[in-house]
């Protein structure tokens, strides 16, 4: 866990530090769009939307963030480090045998990581269960899940999208980072798929912090929300 001193130092870090933090893992000065496709969504969530801090990671009332798309987690680790959940010193040795930071995050090892991911199509079904659990316990907190557009290929997501709509899980938000990476890409089909199952939908520029904050902060009574965050195509 982080020390108070580290947390204080972390609190001075901002969005402009994220690429430097990512460089500690990648060794690259510049990152292509694929490596940073989730970066702005993650930053806006932790900086402006989610009610969770390094001090409240076990508070039952905290907001939950589930990184379902566990691939390419450098941006996630950079944001967690910037926000003081984990020490910056951990970043350099990532994915080595003794590092708690793997190429897919492990909730048992990473402070602040709510789920272990990597195999696609698990985060959203888990989030449906957690949203039901929070609702059953009368807790007002919410669950936000990040999936990739290609991750929606996995049929398990279809099961979850249908049930969340049917059970009116208003405390559930899915953010789809859409870089058109699915092999059978059909433009503008993601939001309608969710809308068909009764979800509130929003499509925003995945690099526009104000638009992301507005869409991700909104909760609609009686309906789960999907925010499709469009970023540069992965080609």
């Amino acid at each position: 866990m982080t020390t108070t001193r580290e947390a204080a130092r972390a609190s001075t870090r901002g969005y402009d530090d994220l690429r430097r933090l990512m460089s500690l893992m990648t060794g690259d000065e510049k990152h292509d769009a694929a490596a940073t496709s989730t970066l702005d969504v993650l930053w806006v969530l932790y900086d402006r939307v989610l009610d969770v801090t390094p001090e409240t990671t076990t508070d039952p009332c905290r907001d939950r963030f589930y990184l379902s798309k566990g691939h390419g987690p450098m941006a996630y680790y950079a944001v967690l480090a910037a926000k003081g959940f984990l020490p910056e010193e951990w970043l350099a040795g990532w994915a080595t045998y003794d590092s708690p930071l793997g190429q897919h995050p492990d909730r048992v090892l990473v402070p602040g990581a709510e789920i272990s991911s990597g195999s696609l199509g698990h985060g959203l079904p888990l989030a449906v269960g957690t949203a039901l659990g929070l609702r059953a316990q009368g807790l007002g907190s919410r669950v936000v899940v990040l999936v990739g557009d290609a991750e929606l290929d996995e049929g398990s997501n279809a099961e979850a999208i249908q049930l969340a709509g049917a059970l009116a899980l208003a405390n559930l938000t899915v953010v789809v980072v859409d870089n058109a990476s699915t092999s059978y890409h059909r433009p503008r089909t993601i939001a309608p798929r969710f809308a068909h199952e009764g979800w509130h939908t929003a499509v925003v520029d995945g690099r526009d912090h104000v638009a992301l904050e507005t869409a991700l902060s909104r909760r609609v009574p009686g309906r789960p929300t999907v925010v499709v965050a469009e970023v540069e195509e992965k080609r």
């Binding site: 888990l126 449906v128 659990g133 099961e159 979850a160």
Partner: protein, 301 residues
Amino acid sequence: MRDPRETFAVTAARLVDEDLSVALVYAEISGQYFREVERRHPDRVVNVGIREQLLVNVGAGFALSGMRPVVHTFSSFLVERAFEQVKLGFGHQDVGGVLVGSGGSVDISRGGRTHQSPGDVALVDTLPGWTVHVPGHADEVERSVELAVAGDGRDYVRVVAQQNARAFPVAPGRFHVVRRGEGATVVAVGPMLDPVLAAVEGLDVTVLYANVVRPFDATTLRAVLASPEVVLVEPYLAGTSSRLVADALSDVPHRLLGLGIGTDERRRYGTPEQHLAAHGLDAAGLRRAVAGFLSPTRASA
């Protein structure tokens, strides 16, 4: 005698009534038993529809929120179809839960291979930390479900229709000594006890009874061992627990016979009894196998 599956359902409903932290998640199957408890507790009793991948991960998601999930459908869909969800949703997330599978190996004999799950325990056995309950009586079903829900670990409860005349206490990690003899030791798992007792009548063997098979009670096995010969009789894939017997007796030259359901696909319907007989798990088949094992020369003559 009570029906084991209905006993599970009644027990689960009672536990949901009694404990606000218990959630029951199911996928249509057994819904006929859950109507009333679902009406009383719609937030904690959830039918996910015909969606088994979702079923298991919704249970795990409940656990991540701090609740104790009971997750139920037929074993074939719970463990075999949704195996990765069992592996990642519970074990890899490091949360607890109670999986209750019904149907087992032969309950749905007329349904064919799609509804038969002889491989469930072997699959769960590839994962660390699961307690595996194989109750052989409705009273044991009730006790296993109560114990599992009261705990915080990962429990798989295998509920099948076949039962023994007598119920034993449920104590994970402890096998029961049913009778002592000077010869071989026969370990009967769950509903295999009554056919085993009929099969070994007149033979000078020890019979152990296991209604919780993981953890495997190596201590009792070693303590009662007379001659170094062991026969395992399991109501799922033959040999599922053989490696645990081998581990328990790694310093003892011994012989081992693992009986259970075979891996070959029979493509037969009919009754559970016919299927058990076809796999040699009725009293007559077990008698032949045990006698042959204990007198190899005579059997081959």
